[in-house]
């Protein structure tokens, strides 16, 4: 980056928050995906005004900006693949207000999800979205990716809790969409448009979130199966029979072993699959649901069902669930995580197809995910240095996407599109849908400077 730009940025945010040494830029070159893109400068603003200033400068000089939270994204959203400015938003990390009466939290984007959830809990309320990365990821990143989590089955995803946002547009202007009162607004629901926009339409600087009542009680169950299909069938049967648990997580044998190896919490390492199920609500309802869950799992050939007796036991199980994704790194170093989501009735079919694909391309694949949402995370475990295998991986991914769409599903349940799935996006939206999205992007960001190379601003791959 040329010295005058560095100087100008420094005068905006202070020299110590502008990093242009190669060593620092490399530290900011990746997220939780395998590709890297070294930014030309890293800027760490401390206020909305500073952000507006940076965006204006970038717009004037035609410099791309890649917004960044904690960089835990699984589709490459925060990787500055076009260089330019890496805009680290984690210094804006204040919880501004938890309004217990009106049940609204007002936060800055850099607040860590878990910190918010704990603060809300201390105030006697509940913020349900719980991505497994919650100890690290930021609310800003959650909004930008529309993050979900195990509780999604019953409580929905981040989108369902956003009342309003304050956003710096690519022009550098500040707008508020939605509001902290009821989220309603005259005109269309602009908030909806920004949630999940992966930093391509604006930079979220303030967030108004809806809070709910804490459930009175909850119970965690662990059901053990001898086949992955039986576990998947239990899920679709459960949902079809009307019991909506708070969470319904599936893990296959490889995942169980990887997690157990890391945490040693006593998971059944011999099991082909397990379901981790939580039900919550009033005590009597919880008992009833619990009985029903046990009955259904048994009918679907569960070989064992354990109910966590203490909070500590339940905690351990959830800790295990959160550790899955990273623990898979123990099996094979490069982890390509997909996040294909199908209608829940198609879950058993999807599980079967995934296994077929793994065999066909001779790849190590693990399956886990928010089964209750139909959101599976088939992860291919490979080694990026093995080029021949990486080619098979690519073909497997394409086939995975195709079969997801065939089963009526979507490419991304919650991890977003980023650079990774961008080439396939048109398969899902269709040509016209894609063109419309492109028009929206072009009119909001005519210079194409906000997070270029992601989502609708990437080149599509031909549908074959």
């Amino acid at each position: 980056m040329r010295p005058p730009v560095i100087e100008e940025l420094s005068s905006l945010v202070g020299r110590e928050y502008v990093m242009d040494k190669l060593e620092d830029r490399i530290c900011y070159s990746c997220d939780a995906t395998f590709r890297s893109g070294v930014p030309e400068v890293v800027v760490r603003p401390g206020s909305v005004e500073e952000i507006m200033g940076i965006v204006r400068l970038a717009s004037r000089r035609g410099i791309p900006i890649t917004p960044r939270g904690a960089s835990t994204g699984l589709s490459g959203g925060a990787v500055p693949i076009k260089g330019g400015i890496c805009l680290d938003l984690t210094r804006l990390n204040r919880i501004l207000e938890i309004d217990v009466v009106n049940r609204v939290a007002t936060v800055e984007p850099g607040v860590i999800t878990d910190d918010l959830a704990s603060a809300v809990s201390r105030a006697g309320l509940f913020y349900p979205p719980d991505p497994s990365s919650s100890k690290v990821c930021t609310i800003g990143g959650n909004i930008a990716e529309c993050a979900g989590g195990p509780r999604g089955v019953k409580y929905g995803v981040t989108r369902d809790y956003v009342l309003g946002l304050e956003v710096v547009l690519p022009s550098g202007d500040l707008v508020q969409v939605g509001n902290p009162v009821d989220g309603e607004m005259s005109g269309p629901d602009w908030t909806m448009l920004l949630v999940g926009s992966e930093g391509t339409l604006g930079i979220v600087t303030r967030i108004f979130l809806r809070l709910v009542d804490k459930p009175a009680t909850k119970k965690t169950l662990l059901a053990v199966f001898e086949t992955l299909e039986d576990a998947a069938t239990s899920v679709s049967t459960l949902i079809a029979s009307g019991t909506i648990p708070t969470t319904l997580e599936i893990m296959d044998n490889l995942t169980i072993r990887a997690v157990e190896d890391y945490l040693k919490v006593g998971l059944p390492v011999a099991a082909e699959a397990i379901l981790l199920i939580e039900v919550d609500g009033a005590p009597s309802a919880v008992e009833k649901h619990c009985d029903h869950v046990i009955a259904v799992c048994k009918r679907c050939n569960a070989s064992d069902i354990q109910v966590a007796e203490t909070e500590d036991q339940a905690d351990k199980l959830w800790r295990a669930r959160r550790a899955i994704s990273p623990a898979c790194g123990r099996i094979n170093p490069t982890k390509i995580s997909e996040d294909a989501t199908v209608p829940r009735s198609q879950l058993p079919a999807m599980v079967r197809r995934i296994k077929e694909i793994a065999t066909k391309y001779d790849l190590k694949m693990v399956v886990f995910g928010h089964a209750g949402d139909g959101n599976l995370h088939p992860n291919i475990l490979t080694n990026k240095h093995n080029l021949e295998e990486m080619q098979r991986v690519e073909r497997a991914i394409e086939e995975l996407f195709r079969c997801t769409l065939e089963l009526g599903g979507t490419l991304s349940g919650e991890h977003g599109i980023g650079y990774m799935k961008a080439p396939f996006l048109e398969w899902e939206t269709g040509r016209d849908g894609f063109a419309l999205a492109r028009q929206v992007k072009d009119s909001v960001d005519p210079k194409g400077l906000l997070n270029p190379g992601k989502m609708f601003s990437a080149i599509s791959q031909q549908i074959t």
Binding site: E23, I26, C27, A70, K135, Y262
Partner: protein, 431 residues
């Protein structure tokens, strides 16, 4: 051959294991203060990877970032993908030192660690010398520097305990057990217990003797080498390691006892990573299995329970290299709680780093102090009279912090409390 090419191969396996999940952001004490990705394990792993991929040279700037790390191992135990970040960082420090050399003053200090006799001579003079350089701190906790000597690791603001006029190893070298002999051990004192806190070192010897253990203090033991090899100076680190292995394999021993977690960690694990010579490595493997922290050893053999009442409210801080390095955390607690009269209160985040990190606190005093302040807050919240810990470096750093905020908590080594409970003469109850 380029330095990088020499090591590239060794690093690749660990590098590939890092899946960049960022979990280490939630455990790194340095990152908690700086908020900068360049202090996380992920950031540093990226730097090392960039070097192997030819995108970065082993620069001074990189050296700075790699050394801005406490080597606290929170990222090792916290890494779901089991990346051995500690070994990667040690290796990177080695390569960087080879490329850029170890800072001159540090080098000088390590050289005198090697020539132990020189160090001891210097120390003889040191007690006189330190009067010239250091003055007593107003609250009697130690001394503060009269002039800032950053290169020597002294900071005008920092409180350093006075060096002992009589190092521990000037005590008789074999101590007979009380009663029948249950075991024969060597006590590896390390520098801190030998020169700075010999009372704590003596307490370790005393409680061993009280428990029927014959203790020898091998005369030819050197500094364990941690300050050298963690600064990337592998030649000096290796030299010290080799001397110590020789010193500890001269006589039949049932165990080797440490009261300094960094020494224990070095002897038990890190030597395996720094020694090349296969013959020595074999000798080391034998030694490594014998290394025990003092409380770990006493719990394992079944210690005497003739504790007298000690009326004290205590809290305990887990030294990084004890809890994550040697895997010892329950043993000291178990022993302390067994003493009648002790009111044991856990502090919040007891196993988080105190910010000392060996030479880290010398180079990055401000960050180190901010990390330490959290520890002090947690300790003071317990209203304990004494903070007990098993590491003299933690002790020094915590004491320094307490002194700066006029805290009233006393800091003691676990062994000192145990010695007091055993009513060993000269070990009066504290407070």
């Amino acid at each position: 051959m380029k330095t990088t090419d020499k090591y590239k191969h060794d690093w690749q396996e660990q590098l590939a294991k890092c899946i960049r999940c960022g979990t280490c952001r939630s455990v790194c004490p340095v990152f908690a203060v700086t908020g900068n990705e360049n202090s996380t394990a992920r950031g540093k792993v990226r730097l090392i990877e960039a070097v192997t991929e030819g995108d970065l040279e082993l620069t001074h700037e990189m050296q700075q970032r790699i050394s801005q790390c406490l080597m606290c191992k929170a990222c090792v135990t916290g890494c779901p993908s089991s990346v051995k970040t500690d070994w990667l960082f040690l290796d990177a420090r080695k390569a960087l030192a080879e490329e850029n050399s170890v800072p001159f003053m540090k080098k000088l200090a390590f050289t005198s660690l090697t020539y132990r006799w020189l160090f001891e001579k210097a120390l003889g003079a040191g007690t006189l010398l330190q009067r010239l350089v250091l003055k007593d701190s107003p609250d009697g906790r130690g001394m503060v520097s009269r002039i800032p000597l950053p290169a020597a690791g002294l900071n005008a603001r920092r409180i350093i305990p006075p060096l002992a006029t009589k190092p521990l190893r000037s005590n008789p070298l074999v101590l007979k057990p009380r009663g029948p002999r249950r075991a024969r051990v060597a006590f590896f004192t390390g520098c801190m217990l030998n020169y700075v806190y010999p009372d704590a070192g003596k307490a370790i010897v005393d409680i061993l003797v009280h428990n029927g253990i014959e203790v020898t203090l091998p005369i030819d033991q050197y500094c364990c080498g941690t300050p050298a090899f963690t600064s990337g100076d592998f030649p000096v680190g290796r030299y010290l390691a080799e001397r110590n292995i020789e010193a500890l394999s001269k006589q039949p021993l049932d165990a080797i006892i440490t009261g300094c977690p960094s020494c224990g960690l070095a002897l038990k694990h890190e030597y395996g990573h720094i020694i090349d010579d296969p013959r020595l490595k074999e000798k080391w493997t034998e030694i490594a299995t014998k290394v025990h922290d003092i409380t770990q050893f006493l719990v394992e053999i079944g210690h005497r329970e003739d504790f007298h009442e000690v009326k004290l409210k205590l809290t305990y801080h887990d030294p990084c290299h004890l809890v994550r390095g040697m895997g010892v955390s329950q043993e000291p607690r178990q022993m302390l709680k067994a003493i009648p009269g002790i009111d044991f209160v856990e502090m919040a985040h007891a196993d988080e780093c105190c910010g000392a990190g060996g030479t880290f606190s010398l180079s990055y005093y401000d960050i180190s102090r901010q990390i330490n302040d959290k520890k002090l807050d947690a300790a003071q919240d317990t209203n304990a009279q004494v903070l007990v810990t098993g590491c003299s470096v933690c002790r020094m750093h915590i004491d320094d912090g307490l002194s700066r905020r006029q805290g009233t908590i006393k800091v003691r080594h676990t062994a000192e409390i145990l010695a007091a409970a055993y009513r060993i003469p000269g070990k009066e109850v504290i407070s």
